[in-house]
Each structure stands twice: as structure tokens, then as C-alpha cells.
């Protein structure tokens, strides 16, 4: 580990905090009735959209209506994508590379993946999809994070409103987030990425003859725009199979750092936005610090184990150029940046990668795995990470909050049976899905035949796939035949369950809270703005996550790490 490598973790956090802080003000004004400098241009656009679609944005919706419309919009996006992919050989426009039929399972998996903001890709983009298909994926990359913000608003309004039956208007939330936040930021991002060296065109792939006399096809296309929204929207579904490790998507360190900032901007802004919405910015602090704490611990552990490399090599006094574990890493960026990037990709639910996670050291690989297993609440994707953390806060308060001698309350709202039921439901979903599907995969032939590395590493691969799916992350560990019907279907299922069944109960919880009266704060109220709550919240995330997944992780990464210390090899 080098000091520069450690320093960049904190530099990144400092930069994204500043960006997120200012962005949260802008988002608050946009979404909760204020003025922004973009209004003059965007308000007419907004009105045009409403008129065109016949929407009345002033109608307040109950949560059931809100969720119904949200689901309807998502289903439409899903169906259009499936049809486009199915008709790819027939639709000749924007298909200079003459891409063929997309297999059904891949199509289904991809359509779910891009609806749920997962962007799990069990295909190679540049070898499977036409420009038209890639463009619709880009549309989905706008719609899915915006959906996340709508879920966030619905939940947080539970705390910010009181004695209210309604939680806002979905269309208004959706259109304003899209027009004011997603599109302008994506445009800025794309322009900067072009300036930093990514291509942006609709040309056919270039075929060149290498010096060795081989023929090489150089894939290209609307790379900058797609990379911009994939990073900004915490999508992670890249243009290229290699994702950002491909030099066009991640041309240099500046571009990588800029992409990190893009990815963190909205999730960090959501924390502060939460504070502004509940009219008490101090309440955002413990959540912010707990995310930062979990992020820093993860980044340092990951970096440490990657820098330490394979213990078997060290044990044999094999001092190579450096003992760093460089396998599967982009050598241009080295261990420090790669570790930071891989930790980031699983905290902000990105899924974008610059290394092969399969080649991380076992504990190094455990960190991204754990980040996802805890429900992607360390920053998380647009809105979703924040409401996941709110669910943890509700549970932490319910478990420990009684200790102050009052029935638990959060932000002046009493937490009762219904809220607990919904929070538990949303907590059960990810753990149940990961464990059950992974157990089936290692028990059934259909599953085991897709594992390339038997032994504990194979278990990690399987756990990672489902964690990535449920967490709507989309990053792949690798080493798994993800395109097989079994994994296409099961990971698809995981992505679906990890999106709607996980977050809709939280919207119901929010709606139930919105109906309640606000209890005035007093000296007898559980203090949820101080360092004590930071510790409690962080502890809850770690303990709950660890309790649920420890047995599986013991047989996966832990067993592998200790085996590596002993120099044991696993066949295959």
C-alpha cells in the first residue's frame, strides 16, 4: 500500500461530498418546489411533456397509485427493450455491424437487468448488440435511476409529511428528475468524457491490419454518451464487454476519476436531500458518516489484501516486481486505483469495473461481495441506497431504540408493527434470494456445470452473481457461465426481486408513516443525529450482514484465503 493509494480514497470522498452537497440543493429546489437556474429553459419542456401525455402533475397520489404508475412505466420500458432485442436482425437501421438474433434467455435477462438499474450483462456489447439496441439500453439507463429517485421520494415523504394520505405525484417526480437532473448531468458528463478521450460516433467498426499481419476489428460507436449515463446513473452497463477497462471507455486516470465523481454525485446528494426534505439537515449526518465509515473500511481492506498479494508467493520468498496481486488488473491504473474503483463499483451499485474481480484475492473479493450483500446501502444507487439505509435505521431504532424508554420513533414518526413488517420484508428479500438461489445453484447440475472454478472460489463466484443481481449492481465476478439458461433465469429473477419486492414495502412503510402525526422532539427522544447513532447504524449494517452471510462466506472467501496461506490448491 502506498500513501498516494490511501490518500486518493479520501480525496475522492472529499470531492464527491462537495459535489453532492451542492447537487442536493439543486435537487431539493427541483423536486420539492423551489426555483433553479434551469427553470427558464426546462419549465416549457416540462409543460410540453405533460400536455403531450395528458398528465396533470398536481394530482396527489396515494402510495398504491404511485407504485402502480411506477411499475407501469417500468413494464413499458421492459417490453420495448425485449421487442427491440428480439427484432434486432430485422431492424436494419443503426446496425452497421449486422448484429444477429439475441438468444431468448439473454434477451430476458438483459431486459430485466436494464429495467432494474442492474445492468448485469451476460453478453458482450460490441459483439452482440446493434447501435439501435445499445441506444435503447441508454434510454433504460435514464429511466431506471430516475425510478430509483421516485422510490426515494415516496419513502422520504413518509417522514417529511404528516397526517397525509398521499405521497406526491409520480409523473411530476419522474419528469422533473429526468429533465432537471439526469439529462443535463449526462450531457455534461458526455462532453467531458469526449474531451478526456472517449469516442462518440455511429461509424462501422474499423478493421485494421496489425504489424504482425493480423486483422483486428476496433469497436467504436456512441461510447462517451453511453459511458456518461452508465456512470452517472449508477448503471454500469457498458458499451464494451470489458467495460471501463477498455481504453475507449476509460482512456486515462483523469477519465476514471471523473467517472467515479459522476457515479457518486447523485447518491451522495440523496443523503443531503434526505436531510433537507425532513427539514433537519443534522439527521443526514450520521447516515453520511456511517456510509463513509463503511466505504473507507472496505476500500482499505480491499487495497490491503490486493497489495499484499498471494500469501503463498510471499511464503516462498518469491519477491516478484512487487508482491501486489496484479492478475486481472488494468496495469495502467495499478493496485490502488483498481481497488478503489472495485470498492466503489459495489458501494454505489455501479457494476462498472476496471478489473477482473475473479482474480482478486479471496478477502479482496469478499469486500465487494459484502458491500452488495448488505443491500447496497453504502451510498447505493440513485435513491435506492438511501432508502435501504433508512430501512436499516428503522430496524436499528426498533432493536435498540427501546433502550431510551420510549416506543421507537424515527424523525418524529412512531415505528409500529406495520413499519417493522415492511422493513423486515425488505431485509428478508435480499438475504433469502441470495442464499436460496446460491444453494440451488451449488446443489443442481444446471448450476454447478456453469462454475469454472470448483472449490471455495466457485462458491464465491455463485454468491457474487446473485448478490450482484439482487443488489441491482450488475458487476460480474466472472468465472461463471452467466449466459446459460440457468444463470440467465435465476439472476434475472434475483434482479427483479431485488428491485420491486425489496423497495415497494419501503414505499408502503413511508405511506404509513406519512399518515402519522409528528411527535415533537424532546430530551427524551432517541438522538438520531449524533456519533452514537452513527456507531449504532454502522454496527447494525455490519452485524446483520455478517450474521446472515457468515456461514456462506466462511466456506467461500474465508476458506479460500486460509487455504492460500496453507498453499493448498483446488483442482480444475
Amino acid at each position: 500500500m502506498t500513501w498516494q493509494g490511501i490518500l486518493q480514497i479520501f480525496v475522492l470522498l472529499a470531492v464527491v461530498t462537495v459535489v453532492g452537497f451542492f447537487l442536493s440543493k439543486y435537487m431539493y429546489n427541483t423536486l420539492e418546489g423551489g426555483r433553479t437556474f434551469m427553470d427558464r429553459v426546462l419549465v416549457p419542456c416540462e409543460r410540453a411533456v405533460y400536455r403531450l401525455c395528458g398528465i396533470d402533475p398536481t394530482v396527489e397520489m396515494r402510495w398504491t397509485r404511485y407504485v402502480f404508475v411506477l411499475l407501469a412505466v417500468n413494464v413499458v420500458g421492459f417490453v420495448v427493450l425485449m421487442v427491440l432485442l428480439a427484432l434486432q436482425p430485422v431492424l436494419t437501421i443503426f446496425n452497421p455491424a449486422h448484429m444477429h438474433q439475441v438468444p431468448f434467455w439473454v434477451n430476458l435477462n438483459t431486459s430485466i437487468s436494464f429495467m432494474t438499474n442492474t445492468n448485469w450483462q451476460n453478453y458482450g456489447g460490441e459483439t452482440t448488440l446493434s447501435y439501435l439496441s445499445q441506444m435503447w439500453l441508454t434510454v433504460q439507463q435514464f429511466l431506471s435511476p430516475v425510478t430509483g429517485i421516485c422510490l426515494f421520494l415516496a419513502v422520504v415523504r413518509g417522514f417529511s409529511r404528516h397526517n397525509a394520505n398521499t405521497i406526491g405525484n409520480f409523473w411530476r417526480d419522474f419528469v422533473r428528475t429526468l429533465l432537471w437532473v439526469a439529462i443535463p448531468l449526462a450531457v455534461i458528463g458526455a462532453v467531458v468524457l469526449i474531451a478526456l478521450g472517449s469516442p462518440q460516433n455511429l461509424h462501422a467498426y474499423t478493421v485494421v491490419h496489425t504489424l504482425q499481419g493480423h486483422k483486428q476489428t476496433i469497436a467504436q460507436g456512441p461510447v462517451a454518451s453511453m459511458t456518461s449515463i452508465m456512470q452517472l446513473g449508477d448503471n454500469g452497463g457498458g458499451f464494451f464487454n470489458m467495460n471501463v477497462a477498455q481504453p475507449f471507455a476509460g482512456p486515462n486516470a483523469a477519465s476514471i476519476f471523473f467517472q467515479l465523481i459522476l457515479g457518486f454525485s447523485v447518491p451522495v446528494a440523496c443523503i443531503f436531500l434526505f436531510g433537507k426534505m425532513v427539514k433537519n439537515t443534522r439527521q443526514a449526518r450520521p447516515i453520511y458518516w456511517s456510509m463513509v465509515l463503511l466505504f473507507v473500511i472496505g476500500a482499505l481492506v480491499l487495497y490491503h489484501f490486493e497489495a499484499a498479494g498471494n500469501p503463498a508467493l510471499a511464503a516462498h520468498h518469491l519477491r516478484l516486481a512487487a508482491s501486489h496481486n496484479l492478475e486481472g488488473k488494468e496495469t495502467r491504473f495499478g493496485t490502488g486505483t483498481t481497488s478503489l474503483f472495485e470498492n466503489s463499483t459495489t458501494t454505489i451499485s455501479w457494476g462498472s469495473v476496471i478489473a477482473s474481480n475473479d482474480s482478486l484475492t479471496p478477502i479482496g473479493g469478499l469486500v465487494p461481495l459484502f458491500n452488495m450483500m448488505t443491500g447496497e446501502v453504502i451510498f447505493g444507487s440513485w435513491g435506492a441506497g438511501m432508502i435501504g439505509m433508512i430501512a436499516y435505521a428503522v430496524l436499528a431504532l426498533f432493536l435498540a431504540g427501546l433502550m431510551v424508554g420510549r416506543t421507537p420513533e424515527y424523525l418524529g414518526k412512531k415505528i409500529e408493527s406495520f413499519e417493522v413488517k415492511m422493513a423486515v420484508l425488505s431485509m428478508i428479500v435480499p438475504s433469502l434470494v441470495i442464499l436460496v438461489l446460491a444453494a440451488l445453484s451449488v446443489a443442481l447440475k444446471a448450476g454447478t456445470s456453469g462454475i469454472f472454478n470448483p472449490g471455495p472460489h466457485g462458491l464465491s463466484e455463485v454468491l457474487y452473481a446473485f448478490s450482484s443481481g439482487v443488489g441491482n449492481n450488475g458487476s460480474a465476478f466472472g468465472g461463471l457461465n452467466a449466459a446459460s439458461p440457468w444463470y440467465s433465469a435465476t439472476v434475472g429473477l434475483a434482479m427483479l426481486l431485488g428491485r420491486f419486492p425489496m423497495y415497494i414495502p419501503l414505499v408502503a412503510m413511508g405511506a404509513s408513516l406519512a399518515k402519522k402525526q409528528r411527535i415533537p422532539e424532546s430530551a427524551g427522544t432517541f438522538p438520531t443525529h449524533g456519533p452514537l447513532f452513527t456507531v449504532l447504524l454502522t454496527g447494525t449494517v455490519v452485524v446483520v450482514g455478517a450474521l446472515i452471510f457468515f456461514p456462506a462466506l466462511a466456506l467461500g472467501p474465508f476458506a479460500e484465503q486460509f487455504a492460500a496461506h496453507a498453499g493448498k490448491l483446488f483442482g480444475g
Binding site: A400, L402, S431, V442, G524, L532, P551, F562, A563, K568
Partner: protein
Amino acid sequence: MSDMDPTGHVGATGTALADGGEPPAGESPHGRRVTMSMWDKDLVRRSLRQSLRKLDPRALTHNPVMFVVEIGSLFTTADALRYLASGRLGSFSFTGQIAIWLWLTVLFANFAEAMAEGRGQAHADELRRTRTETEARKVTPEGIQVVPATTLQVGDVVVVAAGEVIPGDGEVIEGIASVDESAITGESAPVIRESGGDRSAVTGGTTVLSDEIQVKITAGRGESFLDRMITLIEAGVRQKTPNEIALALLLAGLTLIFLVVVVTVAPFSVYSHAPVSVTVLIALLVALIPTTIGGLLSAIGISGMNRLLERNVLALSGRAVEAAGDVNVIMLDKTGTLTMGSRQATSFTPSPGVEERRLAEAAQLSSLADETPEGRSIVVLAKERYDLRAPDLDGGDVEFVPFSAQTRMSGVDLDGRQIRKGAAESVARWAEVELDPQTAAAVEQISRAGSTPLLVAEDRQILGAVELKDVVKPGIKERLASLRAAGIKTVMITGDNPITADAIAREVGVDDFLAEATPERKMEYVKSIRSEGYMVGMVGDGTNDAPALANADVAVAMNTGTMAAREAGNMIDLDSNPTKLIEIVEVGKQILITRGALTTFSVVNDVAKYFAIIPAMFVVAYPGLNALNIMHLTSPETAILSAIIFNALIIPALIPLALRGVRYRATTAATILRKNLLIYGLGGLILPFVGIKLIDMIVSALHLVSTVK
């Protein structure tokens, strides 16, 4: 309670009644229900029997956590027997011991519940013994008939004389009597019951000590207060409060998650070529699910109700007990609760040209025959200030002038001197003089300060004013301050005008006051602060309190109060002690704290159990995992057995805490939280590491199971 007549005089009967009707102010209620020792022999024996009976799976369905443990115990027992039949003694010994400890886990939990229930049951039995078949003298058109009390209908009128037991709940419609209510309240001092007013309700089963009253029966058979009390204590035992239900839900959710965790370990272990036996999987499951809190949850709630009962408070709903912990505004009557209720002379203010000593002497003389506390306090004050001894009046020409509602004065005619004291206007009228501005100002100032001014005059000359002050109860200020620190607002209810109320409120240290309180204003006040999200607790005894009581979250009706007040309340204070509300709030908080502390403790305990069991499970397949055996437990079998023994033993170890409750001191939430998180959070994390290690050392030393690594 209403404030007394502001003239400074209270009729003799009024004082006597006030003394008889409620316990002397400031004293702690004696006659408290006898608190049972925690390990009462009979109770323990009965609880042991009960805990076996509770093994019936149908009885356990209300507790999903323990239900799962019982199913696990059945499986392991079957497994153990299978090993015994096949002659694999090593496996039998290990599985058998695990099975024993799992059964013990369930029994310990049952025992905790039975202990708590038993204590409540004992109270109910005690009451039932006092319910006897009484006879009633019923008033009928044909005259008085003797009928069994059980035949009485609502609306019947009965006559009860001294020495007789009141046959049913009712209202005194004629007469006045002193009644011994110790059967219900445990309070031995008799109370006054009279027709009309706020002291008209009588309870079946209590005994009339003097005089005769006519009672109109208001409750039919099985609905009497005593009946309701017994059923409530018994039913209260099984009633779950909203928060308890929510917590049970969470525990069920955790149990479900851990069930999935353990079930999926099976395929993972098979895949990893480290198969695990069913016994070990069940052991892991039981170790992980929150058995500690699952086993003690109902005991905590029941014992909380019992603690209220020991304080002579009967909660009519579990919801109210829980609400007591949440109350953040409590409304307290000024008189009798915050102040002593009897005014004491505190200063003499002479008129211009009069010596203070002369005023004191005149005041003393005029009060010699005045037996009211106020009158006596004047004599005492004069003696303290000027060492004035009451002169020997025998033989002199003495004529005392008693207080009357018409004159609003009292005094003495002594050797030709005419001395009078009383309300300012009355005395001034008697003296036929205009009050000089200085004395008028003094009178005004005394009123403003919330005290009562008395004017003293001798032979038509105004001597000055005596200040009668309603003295704040000792210790009440500190109590209110600690309530404030705990985030509870106090509101004083008084019939005084706002200016006076403000002065007293400041002196007592309440946060707010409601002056010139009428039933409507009290109710409006309760409604308005509740609409701001506050939870309100209040005490009431009179019919005029009923509307406000009905709107409060925690409404404590005094047992001496009217039927209307009792109906409107959700708790009844058998001692009729108005400061009881503060204790009720503390008990409410204690229940919640205990529940939270044990939940936190239970969940963080899992961490250590993992470190014991997981390496033990997989160390054969992956020897490297022994690095996770940070406690250096002897062998896989000792590790698993030790974790299960710890898991079982922690339940009885915590029974005293569950029954007694975590200590509560009124202070800020942040302070309480820090302390409890340290003890039960951090403590819960560390303690099992130590406990499991110690048990492992014992298990290894005794060679209870295989110690082969």
C-alpha cells in the same frame, strides 16, 4: 381536586373530609401490596410445574422462536435415539447432550414466563379470597328485604350499616360513612364516602366502619370492580401490547432469516465437501435465533404489569402501560399534588404605624380557637417570630367568634378587645374603614404571588396582613426537574387566576399551567396538545375530570374518585395518590428499556456463537478455518456444546433482570442510551466470548464430549 375557598378559611367538616378522603400529603403510601420475594418457594414450585405444562406445542405457537427450538429439540432427540439404537455411542453422547440443553432452553423460557404469570396470579388469588358470599339489605316498596348479594341488579338500592360489607359496586345516594377499603387497596386507613360530589363511589367487598349509607348498585353480577380487577389481572397476563407485538414480529422475521441461513448451509457444505450433521445444523439454528429475548419477552411485559400492581395501580389495558413510557406531557393538579394543599402562614405585613409584633400577637389571639391547619400555622408562626406563647385564657372574659360563610371572618372578643381576621373586604367592612393604600398594596401583592392574604383588625383598626401560602411539597421541584431532563413537560392545573397560577408555576418549576381550569378547558387543553403530537398523562378523581381523562393517553383515575372518572380512566390508582403518575411513567419506561436491552443483548450475542460454531463445523474440510476459532475452544464438539449451553443458561441468568426490570433514572435519552448501549450492546458482544470459553473449559475438563481436535 378543586382549590379551596380562597377566603382563607375552610369549614371544619371540609378539612376533616379532606384528611379522611386521601392519604396525608407528602407521605408515601403505606399499605402497599406486599411484594413477593423473587424466589418465593411456592411460586418457584408452581412455575416449574407450569413450565413443563407449557411444553405443549399448541401453547408454544404464540412464541415462534421457542416453537422452533422445541421442534429442534424433537429432531435432535430422535437423532440421539437413532444413534443409541445403532450403537454409535460417541455420536449418541454428543447429540443426546445437545438435545438435553435444547429442551432446557425451552423449559427455561417457559419457567421465566410462568414465574411472571405466577406473580400476577398470586395477586388475583389474594383478591378472590376476599370475595365472599355477602348478603344485602335491599330497599323495596315493601320495606327492606335481605337478599343474597349475587341477586342484585343494576339500579337496586341497598342499605349498608356499620360493620356490614358493601354488596356490590355502587354510588352512595344518601348518607355519609367511613369505609375500610383495604380489601381492594391494601390501604388500612378508612376513607369517607358520601352522597353527591366526587366521593360517592363505593366498591363491592369493602366494609362500612361507621354510620349508615344507602347505595344504588351500578354494576351487575360479574361486572363489579372486584370481578373486573381479577379478570384484568388474569387477562393482563396474556395481553400483548402493540410494541410487544411489533417486536415479536421482528423476532419471527429474524427466526425466518436464520432458518434460511441454516437450511442453505446444508447444500453449501455438501458442495464444499464438508457435510454437517443435522444435530449441528439445529444447534447452529438455535444459537442464532434470538432465544434470549424470545424466551423472556412475555415475562418482561407481565412483570411490568405486576410492578404496577405492587404500586397499587391497576392498568385496564396493556396499551396504557406502554403509553406511559411514551408520555411527554403530564398534567398535575396544583393542590395536593404539587403543593401541600393546606396553606401555612409565612409572613406578617403590618399596616403603617403598627408594630409587626402587635400584628403577630393579634393574629395569634384571633387564631387560638381556630383548629384549621391555617389557624394553627398562624399561632406557630407568631411563636417562632416573637416567641409569643398562647396566653392562658381560662377565667378571662373570652368569647370566640367562629368562622361563618356570611361574615367570612373569625376572631375573639377578649377583655373588651375585639380582634378579627379574615378576607380583606370582609374585615375592612367590619372595621368600617377605607384600606390605606400601603396595606391594600400588600394585600394585592400577596394575592399576586399566589398566596392568600388575611387581614387582621383590632377594635376597628386595621393592623396588617398575614400571608397564607400554599407550600410546595418537599422534593417535588427536584422530581419535576428530573422529568424535564427526561424530556417530559409538566403542566399544572389550577383553578387560580392566570397571574396567581403563573407565580406558583414559577415557584414549583412546571413548564406550563392551565389556569381557571374548568372541565371544558381541561379537555380542550388535552385535545390541543395531543393534536401537536404530544402524549398526555393525567390524574383525575372528579366527574369534572372525566372528559379530559377520556382524551388523555394515560388517564389515571383515583380509586376514591367518582364512577365517571373511573370509567374514563385507563388506569386506576388504588392508593389515590396524585403523584403516582410519575411512578407509572417510570414503570412504563422501565418495561420498554428492559425489552430493548435484552433484544440488543440477544442479537449481538450471535457474533460470539458464530466464532464458536462456524470453525467447528468446517474445520475438518478446511483446517485453515481454525484461525477463526479465536476463543481456542478445545474441539469442534466441545465448541458446539459450549455455545448451546451458554445459549440455554443465559435465559435463567437473566430472569431476575426481566422480572425486576432494568433500573431507570430520569435523565436525557442520550445519557440512558449511551449507558445501556455500553452495558447491553458492548457487554452482549463480549460476555458470550468469556462465557463460552469458560463453559468449554469445564466441558473439556469433564470430558463430556469428544475433545479430539
